[in-house]
């Protein structure tokens, strides 16, 4: 399976995906012009990673601003994780946020609402 390494831009987050460790990281703002195109490869990676029950998927997020279609894409990813969790796949999310920006934590809580898998929201002190 292809791993992902997408550079951060002003309107899209940095994305790295490593199938061997099952770690997917997303970091930055997300308001791509074409979210279907942007999130397509991520969705595909998640789908493939979750198709093998033996493969874990740990999602590490440092997302700040999401536009509407990015919100939808993230909810779709969490839905896939929820379904995989139901099949016994090892899935977990940690959403890191800048301790000075409580709003990001509140938003992460909104995303977490219907999830039954491990979903941590953790403050980070700025460098």
């Amino acid at each position: 399976m292809n791993d992902l390494a997408v550079e951060k831009t002003q309107s899209t987050p940095a994305i790295t995906a490593d199938s061997a460790s099952g770690l997917l990281k997303m970091e930055g703002d997300s308001y791509p012009e074409n979210s279907f195109e942007f999130f397509g490869p991520v969705m595909e990676w998640v789908r493939e990673q979750l198709s093998d029950k033996a493969c874990p998927l740990h999602l590490e997020l440092r997302l700040i601003y999401l536009n509407t279609s990015s919100v939808r894409a993230m909810l779709d990813i969490f839905d896939m994780l929820e379904a995989a969790h139901g099949r016994g796949v090892d899935v977990a999310v940690v959403w890191y946020y800048d301790a000075r920006n409580q709003r990001v934590a509140d938003l992460a809580e909104e995303f977490k609402e219907d999830c039954t898998f491990a979903f941590e929201i953790t403050a980070e002190e700025p460098d």
């Binding site: 999401l66 536009n67 509407t68 919100v71 909810l75 938003l107 909104e110 219907d114």
Partner: protein, 275 residues
Amino acid sequence: MVEPVESDFADARIVERVRQLLDDPAHVGNPLFEPLAELLQLATRQGERMERLIRIADGFQGAAMERHESLVASYDRNLRRLEKVVRISDLYHEGMRELSESLQAAATTDPLTGVGNRRFLMERLSEEQDRARRMGRPLTLALLDVDRFKTVNDRYGHEVGDQLLCQVADTIRGHLREYDICGRWGGEEFLLLFPEAGTEVMKACERVLDAVRAIELPGRPVGHCITASIGLTQVDYSSRGYSEGVNRADALLYRAKELGRDRIVHDFASQSPAD
């Protein structure tokens, strides 16, 4: 399943009665025996067929119901999903709006004194000038400069100088009407804008100067009074742009300094300059 009704029992009774009659050997020779037996067979077949039809119809109806229910469930699920997307998206937008507001406030506020900065004053002056022109109402502008501010800085240090500027800003704010505007034009110079007001603002300006004289400066020796001078002008809004009124107020302020400071100089018609 449908509950059996009275007519179902009546049907069952007549079938049972005919069957008993046909079973009775005494009736075997009866000429009606054979047609009645055929009729009973026919009725039995019809009954079975009817039950099969009902079963099939029930099955179809059940499938339709299930399909309807699954559509309703998926519709509800999609609706909930959409509501969640909208709710989260709204929160992000709210965050952006607040951020934009705080950036706007930061861009138009003087960080030292907390009053509006020059950018804020230029925007408001331009707005108020347009409004005054539209409504045919007066608009009066004052430039206030703290007298010998450099001496305060030199003698007591910049920290005291900064404190003084904050106190002057508070003093001005405390003596204006709610809809008057004030801000730091630069250095130790403050701009005051009085919408819908003409020569009567003299009194307000005098009160401001009185209050400035009463400002207590930390470490200030007794008898050393803080004063300020004001150049006051009625904005001629037939002129476009904000600079003309400010320039005139500046010239009047300069005149006040020349005349010995701690005074107001205005260019109101039919009144001699106050000092």
